[in-house]
Amino acid sequence: MSPSGNTPLPRAGRALPRAGSALPWALVTPALGWTLLFFVLPFIAMGFSSLTAHEGGGFTASNYSQFFTNPSYWQAMVNSLQVTAIVTVISVLLAYPFAWILAEQVPERWQRLALMLAVLPFWTSYVVRSYSWLLVLAQNGVINRALTGSGLFAEPVQLANTRFATVTGFVHFFVMLLTLTIFANLKQLSPSYRKAAADLGAGPVRTFLHVVLPLTLPGIMVGAFLTFVLCIGDYITPQILGGNNELLMPQLVMMQIGRRGDFPLASALSIILMAVVTIAYLACARWLKIERA
């Protein structure tokens, strides 16, 4: 937010046309009202619901205690955390060198095109993207045909309906997302840092390790956090690619609604899931200073 050129004006206040008018409130109330009515109120309703018994009503904490006592619920959270951690690490490790190549090795005039191409499938429908991976990984799909056809394997390998498939589908999506954020980060680095490091005698490897990497670390953290949040809350990818062999938290939540109509338990599990995300946020809050542009 830089006032371009002219004398900077105070941000607001002096711009006020008529002090004390109802106009500002008339402008912000619809958006605030919408958020209160359709975001905050549902959340309160969910909180209430999570404290009621599915059969017969009445207040109870059993929906929460079930999570800690029922090993299969607990297991879903462990699965979710494991898958999310694996996905985040693999995606960052794959995306960083890729973004670096796009930013450093590709000639300037082709960079925009190269980046657009790299994130093109990002815009396919989410459901369709997971289904596409199913085509690739199926028992008689493209990969298994290639493996058996080339004589590497005698039998097709079980790829679909496994954790491997879920992770692949997720990594595909998040590599694109992280490439975008890390690329933006690398491009924002002023070249003078690198020049200074070179002038002081650092080779390219040292420059990268001691200058470029530390300076892009905050961007990586933001991207990794985004990956964590979007990954742990996603229902589609594990449901289509992982199947029901091993349940993740969102699948468990949807199962309560779909099969049993158990809104209270689904609410409690959602709130637990949200609590985990909040804890993760607080844990890396100091790296996540997302500022206004």
Binding site: S2, P3, G5, L9, R11, A12, G13, A15, L23, P24, W25, A26, L27, V28, P30, A31, L32, W34, T35, L36, F38, F39, L41, P42, F43, A45, M46, S49, L94, P97, F98, I101, Q105, V106, A118, L120, W123, T124, S125, Y126, V127, V128, R129, Y131, S132, L135, V136, A138, N140, V142, R145, H172, V175, G233, Y235, P250, V253, I257, F263, V277
Partner: protein, 260 residues
Amino acid sequence: MRQLVRIASWLYALAVYAFIFLPVVVLVLFSLQATSFPIPPFTGPSLRWYDAVLSDVRLTSALVNSLLVAFISSLAAVTLGFLSAWGFARFVLPGSGLLRGLITLPLTVSYLIIGMGLLVLFNWAGVPKSLLAAGIGHVVINLPLCFAIIYSQMGDHQINIERAARDLGAPEWKVLLLITVPVMAPAIFAGFFLSMTFSWDEFVISFLLTRFDTTLPVEIWNLLRSGLNPKTNAVGSLVFAVSIVLVVFFELTLLRRKPA
């Protein structure tokens, strides 16, 4: 050494591109399959599955529903977002920081949980599942986005233009419609098109909040129950095409006109 890095870079980039495009290429290729299974060997090209999609009333009406929900909910989100961004950027309001935080809060919560909350609320209030309910959910997820985009672009230099208009006697509504909206047009369009693409693709809220009349992602989800099917490939390829058109349009209209 330098040459080696260059070659390694090319190989790595090609491998990542291959990984990124593999599923899309397989999807589109086997949508042209002539036989009934979208698995190798390729037997096409044939357009029979596109025919099947276009003559499937459930899919075509879901497509119209999706476009309608996306258009109307994005319009609502961008209107609410713009008005509130203008209010917060131009006037001093008590508790402004807190209220802005409230508006952007839904960005940090997963769609599943937003959908769950609305499902519980509507269930209690006796609101039936419908496209309208899903549209309300889409405004919830897109309003913070529109607000954040437009608010971040409301620079101080635009205040001068608005003041000039006021000094020349324009009433507030004229300033808004004739000055602020045109000046902010790029940010407003950015918010609108991003909302369109998110709403167009959104699954879980629509899945939870609609019943008979539903959106395209949910209808595609229903198709998946029949297993691998070239018809799903065809409808998926069509959805991809629509998204690409939206994105290219977005690129051409907005990113070209970067302010100096």
